[in-house]
């Protein structure tokens, strides 16, 4: 698996670098509308053609990667971290802590947070800078997304806790910190990785959905979310396979994460 992992890391690094070098690779910029050539096919000028307003699709993909590739993993890490603290605490200590936290997770998953997001939008000024809006969006996604991972981690912690080595460690009188850091967490690492990895595409797309509420990445700034949302029109895509580039890139990046983050041994 090692060469595959190295290749995945190299590929991911290349994509990141390309995104950072967007200004050099796609000098047309993401916002400029070449109104005389809308819906253009790929050419030497527009590597991936243009969108319906004549904007360079390649530039939009590169700039969109900056936003999504930096912020979605950050939000996923935040959600997984909060989820891990809650889930592991519940699973490890059990008893009333477990009961309370488990019910809190249920509660969190059943409340319609949409309305909180609506209220957040109402409180924010209308003229928010794109960067601020993007930051707030992903922060909210990270903070609201902890309950799902927490539930899985709680179940995994329950399971690991009853393993022989854990029972022995506690019987030896090891301190909880020691048990947690030396025995429990290393055994939960693959589950954590899986949760982190699964959250990334979810957050990339959620960002696009938040556009519905006036949050998210506002025009003309591109993100993978709004580029993917543009693919809803599958029939239009059918004759123009280059339009699938955002989806292909998402899948490639997800595959890279899959090979880099060890999670084959799911709950060993």
């Amino acid at each position: 698996m090692k060469p595959l992992r190295r290749a995945a890391m190299a590929l991911l690094a290349a994509i990141y670098l390309a995104a950072l070098a967007a200004a050099w690779l796609a000098p047309a910029g993401y916002a400029r509308q070449f109104r005389e050539s809308p819906d253009a096919k790929p050419s030497a000028v527009f590597l991936l053609g243009t969108d319906e307003l004549g904007r360079d699709s390649f530039a939009r993909l590169l700039y969109g990667s900056r936003v999504s590739l930096s912020l979605a993993p950050a939000a996923a890490a935040l959600a997984t971290l909060v989820g891990a603290v809650a889930g592991v605490s519940a699973g490890y200590w059990g008893g009333w802590i477990d009961t309370c936290l488990a019910r809190l997770m249920d509660l969190f998953l059943s409340v319609p947070w949409l309305f909180l997001l609506l209220s957040v939008r109402a409180v924010l000024p209308l003229n928010v800078r794109p960067l601020e809006s993007i930051g707030i969006t992903f922060l909210l996604l990270g903070l609201l997304g902890w309950a799902g991972p927490a539930r899985v981690l709680r179940a995994a912690a329950h399971e690991v806790k009853s393993e022989d080595f854990m029972v022995q460690a506690r019987a030896r009188g090891s301190s909880p910190v020691r048990v947690l850091s030396l025995h429990l967490l290393p055994n939960l690492a693959p589950v954590l990785a899986a949760q982190f990895w699964m959250s990334i595409p979810l957050f990339i797309l959620s960002e696009a959905n938040l556009g519905f509420l006036g949050l998210g990445v506002a025009e003309p700034v591109p993100s993978w979310g709004n580029l993917l949302a543009g693919l809803q029109n599958l029939d239009a895509v059918a004759g123009c396979p280059w339009r699938l580039a955002p989806l292909v890139l998402l899948l490639v990046v997800m595959a890279c994460f899959h090979f880099i983050v060890p999670m084959e041994d799911f709950s060993k």
Binding site: D106, L107, L109, V111, P112, L118, R121, A122, S267
Partner: protein, 295 residues
């Protein structure tokens, strides 16, 4: 007796959670922008008087979230779930119309997802062919990383499936990778246990090996996932029903959200969190049940 006490305790906490969830939902809806506003207020067909009347109708009662919620609960206890503000019909009737559709598609999706996941996991564990394992694992990973809304859109645009069938298929695709990965891990561990290896070496017939040494001992742990998968299925149903235009609870919830329909939203929140709470409780009980020792 202990079991019964535990059951009562669990049920009480679930119920309490559900009620608190309802209150939070009610408070959030009441505070959200657009609550108590009717779209007709910007309809130029209506004159001043009618707009005033429309505003009067849409105006929330002045009682505040908690007293209103308590009054609502008292009424709900007598079976009156209130009247939907946007559909102008009793919420109980609306839910009764929509619940079966969601139950059917979620049920079919769960059955399909579980069957596919378990069959693949058993085959992977039983066959012990690395290529098969890798292939099934890759398929599961692929579907795991595709959010349900993407799956739903693909269904909608690619296929000619009816709304409910499309929802069931998407739910199955959401459930399948989770079941597969979890079951595969547990079965793998059991299959590698010395007594199973011994049985295999003794030439125990494959079906008996499968049943007595793989399925039965892993059953409690795998069943624990059932509860979680029920709430996952219900959770996925909302966006998927909206995208596939399936007339279920998910679609109803979305319409209620757009119209800030407080009674309907609170009722749906209560119902969905009740289902999720009970499913979670069942999972906890299954997990703590004594595992069947391999014979």
């Amino acid at each position: 007796m202990r079991m019964r006490a535990r059951l009562i305790h669990s049920l009480t906490t679930v119920l309490l959670t559900v009620l608190v969830g309802g209150l939070i939902a009610a408070a959030l809806v009441r505070r959200s922008p657009g609550f108590g506003v009717d779209e007709r207020e910007f309809d130029a067909r209506y004159g001043q008087d009618s707009i005033r009347h429309i505003r009067e109708e849409a105006k929330p009662s002045g009682g505040g979230a908690l007293p209103d919620y308590l009054r609502f609960l008292v009424r709900a206890a007598t079976g009156d779930l209130g009247t939907s503000a946007s559909f102008h019909r009793p919420v109980a009737a609306l839910i009764a119309e929509r619940f079966p559709a969601t139950m059917r598609s979620a049920g079919a999706g769960l059955a399909l997802g579980w069957t596919a996941g378990m069959l693949l996991a058993l085959a992977a564990a039983g066959l012990s062919r690395p290529a098969f394992d890798l292939g099934a694992g890759a398929a599961a990973a692929f579907f795991l990383c595709l959010p349900s809304s993407v799956l739903a859109l693909a269904m909608v645009l690619a296929g000619r499936l009816g709304g409910k069938t499309a929802v069931a298929v998407v739910i199955a695709l959401v459930i399948f990778p989770r079941v597969f990965r979890y079951a595969r891990a547990i079965l793998g561990r059991i299959a590698a246990a010395p007594h199973v290896l011994m049985a295999r070496a003794r030439g125990v017939r494959p079906w008996r090996l499968l049943w007595a040494h793989l399925i039965r001992p892993s059953a409690p742990a795998i069943l624990a996932l059932l509860g979680v998968s029920v709430s996952v299925a219900f959770g996925a149903a909302i966006p998927v029903e909206v995208l596939c235009d399936s007339p279920g609870l998910g679609q109803l919830a979305w319409q209620a959200a757009l119209k800030r329909d407080l009674p309907l939203l609170v009722d749906i929140t209560l119902l969905v969190s009740l289902v999720a709470g009970i499913a979670g409780m069942a999972a906890d009980i299954a997990r703590s049940a004594p595992a069947v020792e391999p014979s």
